[in-house]
């Protein structure tokens, strides 16, 4: 029997791709079969926005997972998650400009420059563009040290996106009243993920996890098997 070719994708990779595409497929399915809300354009905007922010949060989760569990594979998946987040952001912006505002640029521009919610959203989107473009290996090589610096801009983008989300809801963050729970949860998660990156905290977490992992039974060790 010829040796089986090794399956080229890891379970994590498969999960990420399925998760990322399922959102879009479901969206298209609902649009085609008429299962969007009675306010369909807003429904599309909100759903693509939520997918974008969720994927962005997941991309920020990779580093803490590596720190805490010494599991390095998520580090390789940051690019996919980030690009998927960008994909949904692009769809989100296109729906807003085209479907919602019918590409009426003068009205659109007026609206965007007047409303902090839209300024912040637009700014976050514009900042995502260079990150998406330079996410490929060729740029990584070309930019060297600066590549990492550039991609740290995401630490700034993520809070902007949460602010954009929060300001789309009817509530008030200062008095902690109204419809603020979901944006607040996203904000807290992002804050935690960012704090975990501060070098002193990261070091402390890493050494803590080393000690904890040492206590676990070592079931991961390769069993010794005689070669056939």
């Amino acid at each position: 029997m010829p040796p089986m070719k090794k399956f080229p994708y890891t379970p994590l990779q498969i999960a990420i791709h399925i998760y990322a595409w399922s959102g879009l497929i479901l969206l298209i399915f609902d649009a085609v079969t008429g299962h969007l809300s009675p306010n369909p354009i807003q429904d599309l905007e909100q759903r693509t926005g939520r997918h974008a922010i969720t994927l962005l949060v997941l991309s920020l989760l990779c580093t803490p997972v590596n720190t805490l569990f010494k599991w390095s594979e998520p580090l390789k998946r940051r690019r996919a998650l980030g690009l998927y987040a960008f994909m949904y952001a692009v769809i989100h912006v296109i729906i807003f400009a085209d479907l919602d505002y019918g590409l009426a640029w003068s009205r659109l521009v007026q609206e965007v420059i007047q409303k902090p919610r839209l300024i912040v959203g637009m700014f976050a989107f514009i900042l995502l563009i260079p990150l998406a473009i330079t996410s490929f290996d060729i740029w990584k090589k070309r930019l060297g040290k600066n590549w990492k610096r550039l991609h740290r801009v995401v630490y700034f983008i993520a809070p902007l996106v949460v602010l954009h989300y929060l300001w789309s809801k009817k509530g008030d963050i200062l008095s902690l009243q109204g419809d603020i729970v979901k944006p607040l949860i996203y904000g807290l998660i992002i804050a935690i993920f960012l704090i975990m990156r501060f070098p002193p905290i990261r070091k402390a977490l890493a050494s803590f996890s080393t000690r904890m992992l040492a206590l676990l039974p070592k079931k991961n060790q390769q069993p010794k098997v005689d070669a056939p």
Binding site: N39, I41, G102, K170, S175, G178
Partner: protein, 316 residues
């Protein structure tokens, strides 16, 4: 007042749908009754039959501007009712088991005849009519909805506000066990709203008990809700249990959450934006393009005079 669209036919003058739909049934029933000759006892039951004939909701009716009413399904499946959930499409299901009977409305405060009414009393006491109104949500979407009910003025005439009464305060039922959104402490429940007395007495101001020719449903504020068509939807408080005449401007839920965003007046005004989004245009549910929003939601002719001398940029 030419800047406002004139209103050619008042919706109250349009034949109610039940009547025109049941006219043929009536003719048939009348013929049958007549040919059943001498069986006078049949007559009352025939009449009853007509009354119980449920009107088949047709979507052909329009508001006075010629815009079609929204479908029953859109009206009853897309609701802002935070007492249940902030998810507009989730309200209908969560509100299914909400008990709308028995129900009483306590009308009191600065009135000569304070009284607690059962819903049935109100339906008997006050003339019912249909009103087709535009509803403009502060979130910049809108619908056209055929309500049944009576004017708030007709109810206030019964209880007779005293001369000290300057405002009307409304309160929604507080039942966290049935309305799970009320367990959320981020809102100062129960929902309360208010109108100036002259706004309350305006002929447009309506208490709705029915929708689309049928009794109202919980997700739309059954059994009794306010409808103030020239103001943003959040003024039209749902599932009312208390109406009180007061001397001072009452607190309102959204104003107490964010007074810079939701004012006491909350008149539909395309010239005054919500701080975070524009009010210049709106999306009519069922349409894809935005349409410009109208001052006072198109009811300026009837209500603009209420606000003479009032700076609407400040009193938003």
């Amino acid at each position: 007042m030419t800047q406002y669209n004139s209103v050619p036919i008042r919706s109250s003058e349009i034949t109610p749908r039940q009547v025109y739909l049941s006219r043929r049934d009536f003719m048939k029933a009348a013929t049958v009754t007549a040919s059943a000759a001498l069986l006078a006892a049949c007559a009352p039951s025939a009449a009853e039959q007509i009354q119980n004939t449920k009107a088949v909701p047709t979507s052909n009716a329009t508001d006075e501007l010629g815009d079609k009413i929204n479908t029953y399904s859109d009206i009853t499946s897309y609701n802002n009712y935070y007492e249940f959930t902030t998810d507009k499409q989730g309200v209908a299901e969560l509100a299914q088991d909400f008990k709308v009977a028995p129900w009483t409305v306590e009308v009191g405060g600065l009135v000569n005849n304070p009284k607690t009414f059962g819903i049935e009393d109100l339906l008997k006491l006050l003339p019912q009519e249909e009103r087709i109104y535009r509803l403009r949500c502060v979130e910049a979407w809108s619908m056209v909805i055929p309500w049944e009910g009576f004017t708030l003025a007709s109810l206030l005439d019964v209880v007779q506000p005293t001369s000290d009464a300057k405002y009307v305060r409304f309160e929604t039922v507080y039942r966290p066990e049935e309305m799970r959104g009320q367990k959320n402490d981020l809102y100062p429940w129960p929902y309360q709203e208010g109108l100036r007395l002259d706004e309350a007495m305006n002929d447009l101001t309506f208490l709705a008990t029915g929708l689309y020719g049928e009794p109202n449903v919980p997700q739309n504020g059954a059994p009794i809700r306010l409808v103030v068509p020239w103001k943003y939807g959040f003024k039209s408080i749902k599932s009312i249990v208390k109406i009180g005449l007061v001397a001072e401007e009452p607190d309102t839920l959204w104003k107490s959450i964010a007074s810079n965003e939701y004012g006491f007046y909350a008149n539909v005004n395309p010239a005054v934006d919500h701080p975070r989004w524009s009010q210049a245009s709106e999306r009519r549910i069922g349409e894809l393009n935005r349409r410009p929003s109208l001052p006072f939601n198109g009811y300026g002719e009837q209500v603009a005079t209420l606000y003479k001398g009032l700076d609407l940029n400040v009193n938003y």
